[in-house]
Symmetry: C2
Subunit: 118 residues, 2 copies
Amino acid sequence: MDGDIERCGFLCVHEDVVRQVTEQMPADEQLYDLAELFKVFGDSTRIKILYALFEAELCVCDIAQLLGLTQSAVSHQLRVLKAGRLVRPRKDGKTVFYSLADDHVRTLIAQGMEHVEE
Amino acid sequence: MDGDIERCGFLCVHEDVVRQVTEQMPADEQLYDLAELFKVFGDSTRIKILYALFEAELCVCDIAQLLGLTQSAVSHQLRVLKAGRLVRPRKDGKTVFYSLADDHVRTLIAQGMEHVEE
DNA sequence: CAAACATATGAACGACTGTTCATATATTAG
DNA sequence: CTAATATATGAACAGTCGTTCATATGTTTG
């Protein structure tokens, strides 16, 4: 599915610019991974969880009460956040405490907030 | 659907921390908007479009050829990007050129890439 | 005006996502 | 070991999303 499509009949294309942009584009896989990362941020429940972890390390049950959600729902979402390496678990007996994985998370959310607040 | 749920029977909750975090949380609406913003970034087609616009202003047809997509698909996605105020149109005759709306877009994507590249 | 062209839009369809419910795993207390 | 508790997981279902196809809108040319 490449090259044979009849888009606008190729009549309006600015070839030189297109060629230059094509050369500068990162690899498809990298762009895909980047979209996957943002997809993890793209849910209000997960955003709330991350924001809560801004302040303190919290266990699953804490988060559930804090957000008024089922333990199961929170656990499922923490799995997604963990898979995206945005959150890190620390086991202490029966309890599992979660915290932000690194400072990229803080930076990204803060940067996003700036755009939203405009 | 609030307050009556039997989450863990509230036995593990660290009340003081939960209370403190609750106070620091931004308004629900703001968190929702933030998630909406990231949702827009959370699709590889839209990421590709944004990345293309890093380099140059492009018309719909340019983007379509560049990414091997239908004109319709690109137009639909540009609508989403425009609604999220990530992209700005400039009309010139029949042609509509799109460019990045502001530098937050560049910054956010760059920051995301850092996380992915680790 | 009509024809050609660039873009936008609406309906429809398959794929994906988040929650719920039920249940499994793991750890501690008695 | 058994009961209680904290978390994880799987199946299922409703809702959302991105693409395609057909068509509409708006602009320029002749």
